[in-house]
Symmetry: C2
Subunit: 136 residues, 2 copies
């Protein structure tokens, strides 16, 4: 097992931690850990992070009850990022969404698909009302 | 669609980007983007990152051929992290591993499971060679 000291924490003493649902494989959030919160996470088998805004250790779910039970913690080839597999007791996001990543950049592509579906629906509806000769 | 300008890049002009396999949901890597590499990624639909060590834009797979076709890009509730769903042409890691997260902290637990499996295998093998009366 790697020693925590071998991981590369940044100049603020932090390392990014990706949190993934162990069962669904959905990415829930990205947060940061310092050495102490990583040690706590390894010891308690629940996620503890370091809040950059509040400048303190933060036990995920302490107030909301939405704790994250840790199944495993992976570290990457450079030792400067963590991947934490968890079983969450509730939504990861403060907005109530299961994942913090609930909005996408390429939404227009999704809308485009919806436009095609809508066009298809209108076409079928029209053919039902006004059958075209030779059309199945 | 959110404007890139609304995202929160850090004091170095970077934002962390989690890369996930669109089909298997496996986490492949964590890398960083600056505005320019994000724009390139959105435009080319292939991943472009900013190399913190080489201090330059980096087209993933340019030399190895292991490019990552982008399916979608999500941003989190705070607008300070990205999740990129890709279809990779090959391993994401320079070590040849599919994912950069190929080592775990709680490896002992995995080994423990393997020990149990090994014990079970030995037990079954032994019972086959030396049947025990009253044992199914």
């Amino acid at each position: 097992m790697i020693d925590i000291e071998e991981l590369k924490f940044d100049e603020k003493g932090l390392i990014p931690a990706i949190v993934q649902d162990y069962n669904t494989k959905q990415i829930l959030m990205l947060a940061y850990m310092n050495k102490e919160s990583l040690k706590l996470s390894l010891e308690k088998k629940e996620t503890y992070f370091f809040s950059r805004s509040r400048n303190e250790i933060w036990h995920k779910g302490e107030t909301s009850g939405n704790i994250q039970k840790i199944k495993n913690i992976f570290y990457d080839c450079d030792g400067d990022a963590l991947l934490i597999e968890v079983e969450p007791k509730g939504p990861a996001c403060h907005t109530g969404n299961v994942s913090c990543f609930y909005r996408s950049f390429l939404g227009k592509i999704e809308n485009y698909d919806m436009e095609i579906l809508k066009m298809l629906y209108e076409r079928v509806k029209d053919r039902k009302t006004n059958p075209a000769e030779g059309s199945y």
